[in-house]
């Protein structure tokens, strides 16, 4: 019913806090600070994780979209699935694709090298992603060269170093040419 200030006035003592009061205040503040810090750390971690997830999802999506687009333009008779030295089996694909206008072609290669996903064209090579964990190309049936399954997983360690986030996508791409 009554505010704290009124209580102190009632007692008629000199203004100030009792030791008990101070201790209580410190304890409360300490608890709050501790909880707040812990919470903020967790929140930060969550944010990190989330941004990492978003990042590799974006990586995965854009890499997959890029690969798909490239593969759809491929002449299926020119496809070779292999791997770079010391890389997982079937982690590289080479093909000739038609470039604008239809008549001209160029050779394109997508491959894994360590954590990097590369795309190599006569114009040079560029990194598509450096969070790659595994890339593999398979023919669901080697008798049907028109269908290729692409599987890629990406992984990014968050700032803490102890948590990982993983995104894996598998798509089947039908080669039109």
């Amino acid at each position: 019913m009554h505010g704290a200030f009124r209580i102190r006035e009632k007692r008629g003592g000199p203004p100030g806090y009792t030791l008990t009061e101070a201790v209580i205040v410190v304890a409360v503040l300490g608890t709050l600070l501790f909880l707040g810090a812990k919470l903020s750390i967790q929140m930060a971690r969550l944010v990190n994780l989330n941004s990492a997830r978003v990042e590799i999802q974006r990586d995965a999506r854009s890499a997959m979209a890029l690969l798909e687009r490239g593969l759809r333009q491929a002449d299926k008779t020119t496809v070779t699935i292999s791997q770079k030295p010391s890389q997982p089996p079937h982690s590289s694909i080479t093909f000739t694709r038609f470039i604008k206008g239809g008549a001209a072609t160029e050779q394109v290669q997508y491959y894994q090298e360590g954590k990097h996903l590369y795309m190599e064209t006569p114009g040079g090579k560029r990194v598509i992603s450096d969070t790659l964990r595994l890339l593999s190309f398979t023919y669901p049936k080697s008798g049907d060269l028109g269908l290729i399954a692409v599987s890629m997983s990406f992984e990014k360690k968050t700032s803490g170093g102890d948590t990982k986030t993983l995104q894996m996508s598998v798509e089947k791409v039908r080669l039109m040419n």
Binding site: I81, G114, L134, S136, P140, S142, G143, D144, M168
Partner: protein, 835 residues
């Protein structure tokens, strides 16, 4: 007081104020949070919807790449009451799939229904087991849960059969003769002869399915007048009934007659002496339609005496033009005939003898006659000299009390006017008939005038017709033995003239017909002969005096037992006629080489078509062909269904091939009820198999069936072919230390072993194919392989693990050799890989 206390306070908030402020701030904060969440969720939902739409489109796109018949209508469905109305979807052919995209779990469901377009253009759904109308609707639902509520995205697409015209119209009717139902009447729509109905016993009803359209129905049965109905429109759906036929029986009669060849001069009478031996004569008759000039340049005459083989040439003097049907008398000078051969008698009375008539231009013998007693007292010339067939040896030439024997004075031998002529008729009823009967046998062709009268009166024993003034119409001639006689009435078959030239054309349809009589290069087309029901119409005698410009082909059509087949159409050089009751046919054809086809186009579905190729037809000649044996069309029947609930598969191609040569002998499409019938197969053993559209992905059980077909009975069953997916699956988990591997493991299955590392793809050097897959984020994999009992599949897995910053390959895992995996079509086999 409380008011003043509040007004006085200036050093802080009351607890109430703090609480109210806190409350307001909390509400505002909650509101803002809610707002943010709402926006976030909205954007999330929109994203989810896009994903769902992609998934639905993907499934529709996938199904649409299949051929129409491989899009299976849902036969086994599930219903989900989480939606209103309940969501129905396929759980058989296209079971629901769980798909995880960007952390959201979707379930994709498919529902395929047969649909038809109704009269108003609207769509109607059909049950899966109703006939296919060439349209299917593919509906795809993608469902997901959002905050505990089920959401769905629905997409539908129609797939039309590009090829098939639906047999959705039906025509029905009854065939009768008078009021009596008539079986075996074949009703054919002239616009589409591949479809036909056959009336059945005892109701006479027929029916058949056909594409919707307008059709002119034509009914036919051998022995009946064919009938055509006015065009009728057959719509889809409701059958067209009452397409009845009342066939009229073809009434028949017969034509009987005789046919003769009259192509040469004949010796018509020989007299050895009139009063005295020196007055003798030989009388010739011209039965042909042209004039013969008789003189020593053109005609040769020879005589021979009885008991001798010596032939003496007569020296003819004088010349005479003997017109058609006229006589010419040749005799000794004292006779006073136009043609003379001297004063000395050459034919001795009271003896046998012979006269030979030659065509000097060719040296050919035109005619001859030899005579003598029937016993050996007065024999004809020796060695058959002058005889045509058998010499004329009547008993009246035997010596007797009143007769010295042989051809005595005042008697003559005379050629018959007709086959039945005798001594008396020749001087009676046939006194004015030309003496032309010439069966090429003297014994049958001549009469002996032995009345004992020596005058030239009506009963005279000799009555030479003086020279070229006299004309008599021939009633006979050389019998046109083997001449073929036919009428184009469509029912009767050709008749053949017998040795006497007689023929009877039986079962001629009533009406007026020309009768064709043909023998070698001559023929006769008689004037119109009217045939009445059940009556034998006489015709002729006919002399075959027209030149033929055609050749003729004749033969017999039989079944494999040797029984003649009636009513089988035989065609050659554009002419067609059905065979007669005795299986014979007779066709005109221009000279040259032609093919003769019996039952062309299998007009009679009970028999196969047969032909004789390269038949040489000569002008005016009748070419007799070997019998054409028609094989019964054996039929193979069977059914093609889809694996699962046995949904009939329409329009599957089914082929029957000869089991020995492998040559395809027949192929059909299955009907809407999945059944097929391959007709008209010659006896033999057939390999029957459905033709798979995509042998990699579907299989038939059994793959093929060997069916023996004999000529008897049938149809022969090939049983049921079940078409199922050829795909089987190898699935399982991949784990490392008991935990699922989430980054992907490369897997391959192959009939043959694979080396330590998979080769570059596509593989070079042939061999069995590789079936590949990568495990998913949950450590599961599924390899689709071609299902088969053998060989088994070797399955391999390759996993590269990250250890620190390096990738390290773990040893390859395999099921191979003894642990290879058998996967049958439609089967799913589980194999796990653990590192």
């Amino acid at each position: 007081m409380a008011v003043s206390r509040v007004a006085l306070r200036s050093d802080g908030f009351t607890l109430t104020e703090v609480m109210i402020a806190g409350l307001i701030m909390t509400v505002a904060f909650l509101g803002m949070t809610g707002g943010f969440m709402y926006i976030a969720r909205g954007s999330q939902q929109s994203n989810t919807k896009t994903l769902a739409s992609n998934l639905a489109q993907e499934q529709i796109g996938l199904l649409k790449t299949r051929s129409y018949y491989r899009i299976m209508a849902t036969t086994s469905s599930a219903s989900d009451s989480s939606f209103s109305p309940n969501m129905v979807y396929d759980k058989g052919y296209y079971p629901p799939e769980k798909i995880q995209v960007e952390g959201q779990i979707f379930e994709r469901r498919t529902y395929v229904r047969k649909v038809t377009q109704n009269a108003t253009g609207g769509m109607e759904y059909l049950s899966w087991n109703s006939p296919d109308h060439g349209l299917k609707e593919i509906a795809v639902y993608v469902v997901w849960q959002d905050k505990g509520r089920w959401r769905k995205l629905e997409m539908a697409s129609l797939e039309q059969n590009p090829r098939r015209a639906t047999m959705s119209a039906r025509i029905e009717g009854t065939a009768r003769r008078g009021g009596t139902p008539l079986a075996n009447v074949r009703v054919v729509p002239l616009e589409k002869t591949s479809q036909a109905g056959l009336s059945v016993s005892p109701t006479g009803k027929y029916n058949f399915w056909i594409e919707p359209g307008t059709y002119t129905l034509h009914a036919s049965l051998s022995g009946y007048w064919p009938q055509t109905r006015p065009p009728v429109f057959a719509p889809a759906g409701s059958p067209v009934t009452g397409q009845d036929f009342n066939l009229a029986w073809m009434q028949r009669g017969h034509i009987s007659g005789s046919a003769f060849l009259r192509d040469h001069l004949v010796i018509s009478e020989v007299c050895a002496g009139v009063g005295t031996d020196d007055v003798e004569y030989i009388e010739l008759y011209n039965p042909t339609t042209w004039t013969w000039r008789v003189n020593s340049a053109n005609i040769g005459l020879q005589v021979a005496a009885g008991g001798s083989s010596t032939v003496t040439d007569l020296t003819l003097t004088g010349s005479a033009d003997v017109d058609s049907h006229h006589y010419c008398l040749i005799g000794t000078d004292s006779l006073g005939a136009p043609i003379k051969y001297g004063a000395i008698q050459r034919i001795t009375a009271g003896q046998g003898g012979a006269v030979i008539l030659l065509d000097k231009a060719t040296g050919a013998r035109l005619d001859s006659v030899a005579w003598g007693s029937s016993n050996s007292t007065k024999p004809p010339p020796l060695g058959g000299v002058g005889a045509e067939g058998s010499a004329f040896r009547p008993t009246t030439m035997n010596p007797s009390a009143t007769n010295v024997g042989g051809l005595t004075l005042n008697q003559s031998i005379e050629r018959k006017a007709t086959r039945l002529s005798d001594r008396d008729s020749m001087h009676g009823a046939e006194i004015s008939a030309g003496n032309a009967w010439d069966r090429n046998s003297n014994n049958l062709d001549w009469v002996h005038n032995d009345h004992g009268h020596a005058d030239a009166s009506s009963h005279g024993d000799y009555s030479p017709l003086q020279s070229i003034l006299n004309s008599e119409t021939p009633l006979a001639g050389t019998p046109a033995r083997g001449a073929v006689v036919f009428a184009k009435d469509g029912l009767s078959g050709p008749a053949v003239a017998n040795a006497n030239g007689d023929f009877t054309l039986t079962n001629v349809t009533t009406g007026t017909w020309n009768v064709y009589i043909t023998s070698d290069s001559v023929r006769k087309v008689t004037p119109s002969t009217t045939v009445a029901n059940g009556v034998i119409t006489p015709s002729g005698p006919h002399g075959l005096d027209e030149t033929s410009f055609q050749g003729y082909i004749t033969g017999t059509v039989k079944d494999f037992t040797g029984a003649p087949l009636n009513g089988i159409v035989v065609s050659a050089a554009g002419n067609s006629l059905p065979t007669s009751a005795d299986g014979t046919y007779f066709l005109e054809a221009p000279p040259g080489v032609t093919d003769v086809v019996a039952n062309p186009g299998q007009i009679d579905p009970s028999y196969l078509e047969a032909s004789i190729n390269g038949v040489q037809v000569d002008l005016g000649r009748v070419k007799k062909l070997p019998d054409i044996v028609l094989q019964t069309g054996g039929a193979i029947i069977g059914t093609v269904v889809n694996a699962g609930l046995g949904d009939p598969l329409a329009n599957m191609v089914v082929v029957a091939s000869d089991s020995v040569s492998g040559v395809e002998k027949g192929s059909v499409l299955t009907q809407t009820d999945g059944t097929f019938r391959i007709d008209r197969l010659p006896p033999g053993t057939y390999i029957v198999s459905p033709v798979l559209e995509d042998p990699e992905n579907e299989s038939s059980t059994p793959l093929s069936q060997s069916v023996p077909v004999s000529s008897f009975g049938g149809p022969f069953s090939a049983g049921t072919f079940t078409i199922g997916g050829a795909t089987g699956y190898i699935e399982g988990t991949v784990r490392r230390n008991g935990k699922p591997i989430t980054t992907g493991v490369l897997l391959y299955a192959r009939e043959s072993p694979i080396g330590l590392n998979p080769p570059d793809m596509p593989p070079s050097g042939g061999g069995p194919q590789y079936f590949g897959a990568t495990s998913d984020a949950e450590g599961r994999f599924k390899i689709a392989v071609r299902g088969q009992v053998s060989p088994k599949y070797n399955v391999y897995a390759w996993y590269w693990e990250w250890q620190g910053n390096a990738m390290v390959p773990l040893p390859r895992k395999a099921y191979e050799g003894g642990t290879a995996v058998q996967v049958q079509p439609g089967q799913t086999v589980t194999r796990n890989f653990d590192w």
